[in-house]
Symmetry: C2
Subunit: 252 residues, 2 copies
DNA sequence: CGGAGGGTTGAGATTCATCAACGCGTGTGG
DNA sequence: CCACACGCGTTGATGAATCTCAACCCTCCG
């Protein structure tokens, strides 16, 4: 089937990067698009993974539940993001739930198509490797953050990523998800998240509703680390105190 | 060069699984073997990743350091394990340190060989995907554990994995690393780890030095979850209370 | 107008990290 | 052969920090 894939606003899905038309066609040949309402469970923990999910519109979370019903959110997806791509290759039942956060339009690529395509198209395999390692890198940050960093550092780092994502010049951005979801994703309770946001105001980061306003382009430099340096236009210039003198970073 | 790869005792490295002799030869053609002393830094945070490291003998840790020098261990490697395989595909400087824990013999496969080989051999690409997703799955467990689970549950889960790894019939196994390393890996201090081990004795799990003795094969069922069920011979039999009645699991 | 959900604020309790001291085994050097 | 130092692990007391529980506010929408 032909698909209405117009990701005009955001970049093309990383999954499809550099693929030939032929390769892409083959991949999408047996894919389907569905619309789901808010809070629809797409995958349950323990399910056999059947598809890669690509969010076209809306938002989705991946998470786990423990016996008492506490949830741990691993990823919060926006249009262009995919999930279950890593799980397909884990070999076994899905360790995660997948659920829509808002009404969403979602492309589903069958498991079998993906696995055979990996063997046929090296570029597709490379794309998947890059995607999965990106997840992994991100999860290392999560672990690192929970182990060591104070809530304010976790929130600051999250803001820094959003800021760099949006484009470094912009002094304003909005939170793309509900605060309680972000709080959970950052490994803290909504209460702690709320209190942390208040503290951020003293650092020149103003929060009103879900809109974040920065005092200047250096407001988030406190939270820079060796992994984000490369993304920052200030890096290796003398503008940024934190980059030049990493030891002055905020200790929380 | 020809390599003295005799992993007779443990399973073959997952990296080489199902590869043709030809493919394997090509991969190892430019690889080298080195011996390192304890505490040798193989990779530093910020370095450009240059090799995949395969531990032939000894043990290795991967970790991050924060500004104050606190470390977060992500993985503890034994012979047959690889590292930096995920980092190669992240595209950017290494987010982690790699350091030997004991005198170690290590095989190094150059970055370039790996990347071109992924494009040429679909089986190799699949192996890498399975390896990296396994890491990712593991890191999800780490996050999950730190978010929700009590120290005793984290230790119990770790023990369960070691137990299943060794073979389910054996009622005894040993800790393969120093306790302080394991403690850090599990996201707690050595003190907390020590205190937790004492509590485990009340659950029929006896710890003397680095030897763990189980009262019976059910001692660790308390810590089973949907991801480990599949590995457990008790699963879907009526023997295991925890598997049949997941809600009775230990709540900590 | 009233209810529901998300977000905020406050007070209290729990829990783990921190700091400090000690025990123990090992290896070394006198 | 013994003394000592060192590393690792354990134990105890203390404190800080976040989770929990509860109440409240606000906005949106029926």
């Amino acid at each position: 089937m032909m698909l209405p894939l117009n990701f005009s606003k955001q970049k093309n899905p990383q999954l499809f990067e550099k693929l030939t038309e032929q390769s892409l066609g083959k991949l999408l040949q047996h894919s389907t698009v569905h619309n789901y309402e808010t809070d629809t469970l797409l995958v349950q923990q323990g399910d056999k993974p059947q598809h890669i999910y690509l969010v076209i519109e809306g938002s989705v979370k991946t998470f786990r539940l423990d016996e008492e019903g506490h949830e741990t959110i691993f990823r919060l997806l926006q249009p262009g993001d995919t999930c279950m791509d890593a799980v397909l290759f884990m070999g076994g039942p899905s360790p995660i739930y997948v659920q829509t956060l808002t009404p969403s339009k979602i492309l589903m690529i069958p498991e079998r198509i993906v696995k055979t395509h990996v063997l046929e198209d090296g570029q597709f395999a490379t794309n998947l490797l890059q995607i999965v390692t990106k997840y992994y890198k991100n999860s290392m940050h999560q672990i690192d953050a929970m182990n060591i960093k104070s809530p304010i550092q976790r929130v600051g780092y999250y803001f820094l990523l959003k800021h760099l994502d949006k484009g470094h010049d912009s002094l304003e951005f909005t939170l793309p998800f509900h605060k309680q979801s972000i709080a959970n994703y950052l490994g803290m309770t909504p209460e702690t998240f709320s209190r942390t946001l208040k503290k951020m105001k003293e650092l020149g980061i103003d929060v009103k509703g879900d809109t974040i306003k920065l005092r200047d382009t250096y407001a988030l430099c406190l939270f820079c680390d060796s992994d984000t340096q490369a993304l920052c236009p200030h890096y290796s210039s003398e503008d940024c105190q934190s980059c030049v003198h990493p030891q002055v970073n905020y200790k929380g």
